[in-house]
């Protein structure tokens, strides 16, 4: 069974995990596939942009955060998906050589009214660089099965 259930994510629960360093090649390769804007794919053109150099697509930073969440705890959890994200803020550029870590903080946990075997948890998710600057923040929700429901399934 799983290590983490709905019941474990009380407000104030926090988990930090990392790190992942992004190279220029990582940034360019992601952007060529998903977000080929000049400041993500071309070092020379990026220098002439308002960012003064190559920066990662914000979606790459979000994806790196997602992967760190999976490796940190999500793949050991009874997560059954996410209805969505309330907000995503791209707060600081991520540049080649930046080392990113991920922090998750639960802010609210609500048992489902219609499906008593699960509940919704709201989190603040932050991606943080090696200077301890938050480069991306999100407020997102996920659904988790309850521990009691899992125990009943086993019985």
């Amino acid at each position: 069974m799983f290590k983490y259930y709905f019941d474990d994510f009380h407000p104030g629960w926090t988990f930090e995990f990392g790190a992942r360093t992004l190279s220029a090649e990582d940034i360019i390769s992601f952007a060529r596939q998903w977000d080929p804007q000049r400041y993500h794919t071309d070092e020379e053109q990026a220098r002439a942009s308002p960012y003064g150099g190559l920066i990662a697509s914000g979606w790459q930073t979000a994806c790196v955060g997602m992967r760190l969440m999976c490796d940190g705890y999500l793949n050991e959890s009874a997560c059954v998906g996410s209805p969505g994200i309330e907000e995503i803020r791209f707060l600081k550029p991520v540049r080649p050589g930046d080392t990113l870590r991920f922090r998750s903080t639960a802010t609210e946990a609500r048992p489902s009214k219609t499906k008593p075997n699960r509940g919704t948890v709201t989190f603040t998710w932050e991606v943080i660089n090696q200077l301890d600057e938050v480069v991306l923040s999100m407020i997102g929700t996920q659904l988790f099965l309850r521990r009691t429901a899992a125990a009943e399934d086993d019985a």
């Binding site: 596939q33 998903w34 977000d35 080929p36 804007q37 000049r38 400041y39 308002p50 960012y51 697509s57 914000g58 979606w59 979000a62 994806c63 790196v64 997602m66 992967r67 999976c70 999500l74 793949n75 997560c79 059954v80 998906g81 996410s82 209805p83 969505g84 994200i85 309330e86 907000e87 995503i88 803020r89 791209f90």
Partner: protein, 150 residues
Amino acid sequence: MTKKFHFEDFTPGRVWEIDGPTVGKDEIVEFARRFDPQYFHVDERMAEDSPYGGLIASGWQTVGICMRLICDAYLLQAASLGSPGVNEVRWTKPVRPGDRLRMKMTVLEAKISRSKPDRGTVLHRWEVYNQHGDMVMHMEGYGMYARRPE
């Protein structure tokens, strides 16, 4: 470099309709192995026992597909200065192998910056539909664009 689209081109109510790709099973698994390796995105057999009853794409893959569609439709020809963020991402239906996506982008708001009058912020709504006409995702995203030089 002269750009085709500036702040002035994103007038509230303007709509872009963009045809998207068919999402294959291998792409779903490959994306998820890199970025979102939850079992219902990477393991067909385990996904069958999940609440989704089969493999579904990571919501981040749907976002990535849309970002690329937007880039090819207008963003690479726009005087874009980046994005401060996104609001209200909703994954309203699963995207499954073989689904063909299309998106509709609507300009909701356009405001000239008070502190930097050479640019403005545009609020876009993205809606993504599958081949059955069901909405699979929507979100609202901000983009900053330079104003057209006089």
